[in-house]
């Protein structure tokens, strides 16, 4: 059988795990209006590196869903599309955050409790 090397396996699982977090990060960061590259740099700095070709289309999708509002900032010589989290976006962010917290809690319980006890309850 073909076995993937450990790094590929790790990278694959990491990617799966991170996929949903970009939305939370974007909605949270854009409570302060920002443009694509600015957000990319902020996320990168805070350790959540996202590919540019994932982030730009994502912003557009969130805008289409009404979670982000946008306007063109033409004060700079380079016109940029500024995004900011809409009311609907803030509400969704709250829901996602509470989901995130409950996931963390569940995982913590599973990791700390003796698995034997949990299995015993099942049987």
């Amino acid at each position: 059988m073909f076995v993937m090397n450990d790094e590929d396996v790790l990278a694959g699982h990491q990617q799966e795990l991170r996929r949903g977090t970009v939305v939370i990060a974007a909605l949270a960061t854009l409570k302060t209006p920002g443009y694509g590259y600015g957000l990319l740099a902020v996320l990168e700095k805070s350790g959540l590196s996202v590919d540019a070709n994932t982030l730009y289309p994502l912003l557009r999708r969130l805008e289409k869903q009404g979670l982000l509002s946008s306007s063109w900032d033409t004060t700079d010589s380079r016109p940029r599309k500024m995004y900011s989290t809409s009311d609907a976006g803030r509400k969704l962010l709250q829901q996602l955050e509470s989901e995130w917290n409950s996931l963390t809690q569940s995982l913590n319980t599973l990791r700390t409790e003796d698995p034997k006890n949990l299995l015993k309850e099942l049987s």
Partner: protein, 327 residues
């Protein structure tokens, strides 16, 4: 020549719906400029910076698909199971039916065996390609349009295939039925087509024409009944003693006349044998008669042994199957 950036933007916005083009173009231009600037600040040369910025954004077709939510697959996971199931069903029904139809039609209209085989193979290949192509086209269109939910039926456990267990393979059944039909087709065909013609130009049948008054119809009936029995056996889930009996009867219906006629040298058409002798095959009648007897008896004996042997295993498999599936 346009800059790489311009060419990249053009490639992306061409693949984005008209309504989004201006917006995507402006945003993408700013994005590339920002990404390039960041690299310039890090000390890259202008060329390197542009190149690596575009590399980060990746294949324009992929990016455009992300922007416009377009599918990057011909048939996606929503439709794939239905697609594969439909292809299998069509391949298992249309191809054997069409193949048998072509063989019979060709033989009846008087094509020779080699010609028929070649035509059948070519037509089946074409048919397979056509089936595959059109089913794929329909599903690719479905994939690209929001089909109503009813278009992709929800899977339900009750739709699980319930194949007869224990040695009954659909392929075997189909092969066996086709063999029977080919046998029927040959019996009919040999009367109208022949490698030899008489003085008047009419074909010389291989089998004694007077046999049409009784024995050839009996053998045709035996072959056709055999095909029906084979089908019923598949439906019933394998061999059981009644089927062994039925199969033996239909087999004997074909083999007994064949062996009797061959043994009494009344199977072959004498003018046909004369032609073969004239060609230098002096013992043609003897050789053919002996071969017919050996092959016919061989097939019958094998069928009987094989069906008897499988009664037990098929019955066991059926019981096990119905136990695990109480409905």
């Amino acid at each position: 020549m346009k800059t790489l950036t311009n060419r990249y933007i053009t490639a992306v916005i061409h693949a984005v719906p008209e309504s989004q083009r201006n917006d995507v173009q402006a945003e993408l231009a700013a994005a590339i400029a920002d990404l390039t600037d960041a690299r310039l600040e890090a000390g890259a040369s202008p060329q390197e910076a542009e190149h690596s910025a575009l590399l980060e954004l990746g294949d324009p077709m992929r990016l455009a698909a992300e922007y416009s939510n377009r599918k990057l697959q011909l048939i996606g996971p929503d439709h794939y199971p239905t697609y594969i199931r439909l292809l299998k069903v069509l391949a298992a029904t249309v191809l054997p039916i069409a193949g048998t139809g072509i063989i019979i039609a060709n033989l009846l209209t008087g094509a020779d065996a080699g010609d028929t085989a070649a035509k059948t193979i070519v037509t089946l290949i074409q048919l397979t390609v056509q089936l595959f192509f059109w089913v794929t086209v329909v599903f690719a269109i479905l994939e690209r349009n929001q089909a109503p939910k009813s278009m992709y039926p929800a899977w339900d456990p009750s739709t699980l295939p319930d194949p007869p267990q224990g040695g009954v393979k659909l392929g075997d059944t189909i092969a066996s039925i086709i063999m029977s039909l080919v046998g029927v087709a040959y019996l009919v065909w040999q009367h109208f087509r022949s490698p030899f013609t008489d003085a008047g130009g009419a074909p010389v049948p291989s089998l004694e024409p007077s046999l049409w008054s009784l024995w050839i119809p009996v053998m045709i009936a035996g072959l056709l009944t055999g095909a029906v029995v084979e089908f019923l056996r598949y439906r019933a889930g394998g061999w059981s003693w009644p089927f062994v009996g039925l199969n033996a009867v239909t087999g004997l219906l074909v083999v007994v006349p064949l062996v009797w006629l061959a043994a009494t040298n009344s199977l072959l058409n004498p003018p046909m044998v004369e032609r073969l002798v004239a060609l230098g095959w002096h013992d043609a009648a003897l050789h053919i008669n002996v071969s017919v007897i050996v092959i016919a008896v061989g097939i019958l004996v094998w069928e009987l042994i094989d069906s008897t042997r499988k009664v037990r295993t098929d019955a066991a498999a059926r019981t096990k199957h119905s136990n695990s599936n109480p409905s």
